[in-house]
Amino acid sequence: MSDEMPVRDSVTIVGASLAGLRAAETLRRDGFPGRITLIGDEPHAPYDRPPLSKQLLAGDWEVDRISLSPTERMSGLDLDMRLGQRATALDVSAHTIDIEGVAEGYDCLLIATGARCRTLPGTEGLAGVHTLRTLDDSIAIRDALRSGPRRVVVVGAGFIGAEVAATAVGYGAPVTMVEALPVPMGRVLGDTVGDVVAGVHVDNGVDLRCGVGVDEVCGAGRVESVRLSDGTVVEADLVVVGIGVIPNTDWLDGSGLTVDDGVLCDETCLAAPDVTAAGDVARWPNPRYGEVMRVEHWDNAVEQGAHAARRLTLSDEEAEPFSPVPWFWSDQYDRKVQLAGRPRPDDEVSVVDGSFEERRFAAIYGRDGRLTAVFGMNRPRQVMQYKGLLERGASWSEALEFAEDQI
């Protein structure tokens, strides 16, 4: 152990969701003996968010099923949990954090304050218009779905919107999904694969409107209709808006940290001496891609939470860069879609298993002679095989050869 090895008495983690909790678990698993304080602004104990748009929203699960903090798992962690409390300011040079306006010192700090939903302007206070991020959001939308809406309008055909649409269809509700892009997910998946994803919604009876924006959500006190940019008006008594998120960094004004669409970190997730960030709120240069990125996926919260926690206990010399291959899954209707890697819409695409027609396939993406991503629909085995190739930095031809060998 070098003389520079930092000695840590305590760690303060701001954000009691997946990244924050996994950070605390990692510290304990690595044998950290000091005090760990976990601060969360929601009143609920840590819970898992993916079911909020799926099983919980569908009514298949009750709230107790989504806990991330069952008693048997928490008891060994010995956390100082402070729920329902909001961090309001930070001063990294003074090593102080304000909790509900009261300053206190910290030894080292992990920021995992996540993100909040973008909203449509003019919808504040309009009943029947929802975003989906929290447990309370999910329960409110579930209750609205149970009351039998005449029509649900989902704004945004990204993964949250797509999952909400699928779940609403499961309730038997007529669903219109509005997407500003010409092809859903086209900017991520490219138009060829995006068209297949769109087709799954249409197969399931969703009225999909692409290439149109929302001009106005209309109603007096309660939503009545949505006026689209092409002039059409869609009657709606439930509107769910899934148009992306904004990192929760407002409390960091004047903190001394660099905030630019997230907390800017170095390759190792360090944002300032004794301060790291993880999960949806963290932006860092991923050396694997030579690109500064912020990743909103579940798996990234787990991995980066662990990495950022360990970083706090390491010296600069010992610290390692955080260089994951991003990966996520989404469940819509009876389809499981998964994406690993970092595709661009103009990458070359090759179907290596199954076919678009059967809605069961794996497709790989390549650019400049490299394999860049794999997308699967009901093909988890293949996605993970190619994810392994991505982590090894495989070439495009190597990936194609691998595909040949599988036949």
């Binding site: 996994r22 678990e25 698993r29 898992d48 993916p50 991330l68 579940w298 798996d299 787990v302 991995e303 662990a306 990966w327 899954w329 469940d331 499981k336 998964q338 009901n378 988890p380 085995r381 996605v383 993970m384 095989q385 994810k387 392994g388």
Partner: protein, 63 residues
């Protein structure tokens, strides 16, 4: 140690297969198969990672 899967939770995301292919396999039928229910102690770090990274929290390791 013993690997226990809650098959009511498992959705075959196959992340475990990528982390520990000697223990977990998702086959073409999209179901997870445990290839070795009692892996050696040298596999503990990988299994811990599989437990942590399973999106459904469907994996337990019992001592």
């Amino acid at each position: 140690m013993r690997v226990v899967i809650d098959y009511d939770l498992c959705e075959s995301n196959a992340i475990c297969m990528q982390i520990a292919p000697d223990v977990f396999e998702v086959r073409d039928d999209d179901f997870l198969y445990v290839l070795n229910e009692t892996p050696g102690e040298d596999r503990r770090a990988s299994l811990d990672e599989a437990v942590q990274r399973c999106p459904k929290q469907a994996i337990r390791v019992e001592d």
